[in-house]
Symmetry: C2
Subunit: 348 residues, 2 copies
Amino acid sequence: MALNDRKIRILQAIINDYIETAEPVGSRTIAKKYNLGVSSATIRNEMSDLEEMGFILQPHASSGRIPSDLGYRLYVDHLMQKKELSYEEQSMMQAMISRNISQIDYLMEETAKAISMMTNYTTIISEPISRGTRIKQIRLLPLDSGSVLLVIATENNFIKNHVIKMGEAPEDMKVFEMGRCLNNVLQGHSIGEINRDLIARLQSELAEYAPLLPHILAAIESTMRAAEKVQVHMSGTKNILAFPEFSDIEKARALFQALEEKDVLVTLLEEGKDNGLQVLIGSENTVQSMKDCSVITATYKMGDDTRGTIGIVGPTRMDYSQVISVLNGMVQNIEKVLRDLSDGNKGS
Amino acid sequence: MALNDRKIRILQAIINDYIETAEPVGSRTIAKKYNLGVSSATIRNEMSDLEEMGFILQPHASSGRIPSDLGYRLYVDHLMQKKELSYEEQSMMQAMISRNISQIDYLMEETAKAISMMTNYTTIISEPISRGTRIKQIRLLPLDSGSVLLVIATENNFIKNHVIKMGEAPEDMKVFEMGRCLNNVLQGHSIGEINRDLIARLQSELAEYAPLLPHILAAIESTMRAAEKVQVHMSGTKNILAFPEFSDIEKARALFQALEEKDVLVTLLEEGKDNGLQVLIGSENTVQSMKDCSVITATYKMGDDTRGTIGIVGPTRMDYSQVISVLNGMVQNIEKVLRDLSDGNKGS
DNA sequence: GTTAGCACTCGATTCAAGTGAGTGCTAACA
DNA sequence: TGTTAGCACTCACTTGAATCGAGTGCTAAC
């Protein structure tokens, strides 16, 4: 059975209508609303074929049809026309995430909020992380009589600090001196590269403070590890309750349950991390309790190997075209903001 | 009409039963389940009195009674018996929030998660903030050719950094020298105290770098301001959907809407910030869309004037006694962890 | 190949009757 | 005077039958 032009037009009509109304679409509705130049009876015949081919489903014997996951897949891959963002949307986007943002976690919060506001779906976003970033600067500062502060700046301008408690801290000038040593030895290396050779060099250079060295190494390691941990932000969960597909409170609860687990969020975002933009429809995603949801993910970059992912979660009946355009726009936006951020902070 | 002993016992029975079952309580239920030694008819008479006094309500003419806000108030203030935490609960609490926590935002996340897991309500928690903290150490580090890093440690060991972009950064030793100057002048002062005199002193001491001074001052100000901004964490929103009072999806939606606004959360927590432990029942809290909820807040301290607030949100029919004991236990726990954290970090 | 017409299906809505938990009132009782 | 048994009454909720209507599949005619 061939998927001729008319079948495609009918499938498109069904999907468009169902996305809009969330009601199964009947042949008569299509005949009236979409001018295909044929009668409802003809459309019925075509629909029967489309069902046989697996693109649409009948929730029960005498109802209209709804798109199947396969139908949405065809739609997303071939039928859907890309929407352009309106001027209003673009400037709204910029206004929302560019004001006043100097810290990465605020930026994430604001971005997630902006997306869920514009799309009315739920947004999750992971902070940019990079495996194997190199150390740009590593220094020690005197803090008080019993502790010093380790400050590490990586090449993509992530800055982390760690308080090192050390019984009795060396005097200020010595702390600086140690810091300078550390910096000389470790600058330009990633955490994975801290091997015996480097440690031996540190031990000889910092011989005077040998007992402190393990403290310092432990602090470096834990700091770099923390920098590699994925931080996830979410916004717009309330939107879920607005969709008729979740008017059954048990379904809503299951979804909320899933979305409250960080692991689940990370999994969802990970699934999309290779491709630039990925659409997972219904059961295509691996999270069991989200078989009725689609997830659209996009990766944003910050420098060469530092990246994060944005995901939008909604019912399979989601406005793919709009979501994709918002997502594309937002990726560009966030990449720009991140560039500005890592080039040097605002207000200075 | 006097609130005699029997009336109180009946009220208590109604509240206990209603908290447990979420169903209006009838006179016959009370007569059977709670051995008051009188018949249901007598109880009916007493209930009629209690209703007249405003402690209980009848949802409709021929149903049982439910407690009113006033009834809960009496219960919380006078009738409720304090529950002790079981040994299991205590150790569970400690296990959950003590492992692996070296950063304050993780601590907050974990605490909120632990509380909502133990109570099955929704938890919000604000990070500790302090107005007018003093600067303990303030330093500059060279970062790269075009920027330096400002690091500020406050007396309660909050550490913040800020990248200062400055066209062409001075050479390393000069940066250190500037940092030392800054530290000499500003150490021990709070942001509010940075006045003309101090600025003048900085200007004369840093005369050589006068054009950079505004950059530095702006960075200090923005950093200290950020440190004073309230950060709020939330966990367990999904629990809301489990309560029959929110089986009406519109009610749930309204509540979710409210809880997604950071302002609302801050308001809720602020309302409780004076007292150690505060119970706001139903319409006692000022958030319009939360008239059916009770909010229990407790303040935790970290040093003298640094504090944060934990709030638990649930339906007015909440298990006040359990929530209060969990909250008290958790405040002690978190204060201990914070003490350890600010004394010096673990793992070092 | 397309269409009009028709019988049929089946979820959703409506309505009336029935059920039961609970009340208020009254009269009898200790 | 306080307590209780008994009874009529209320009202949300359940149940089941009738009806509605959107939609289908099939057939016969164009």
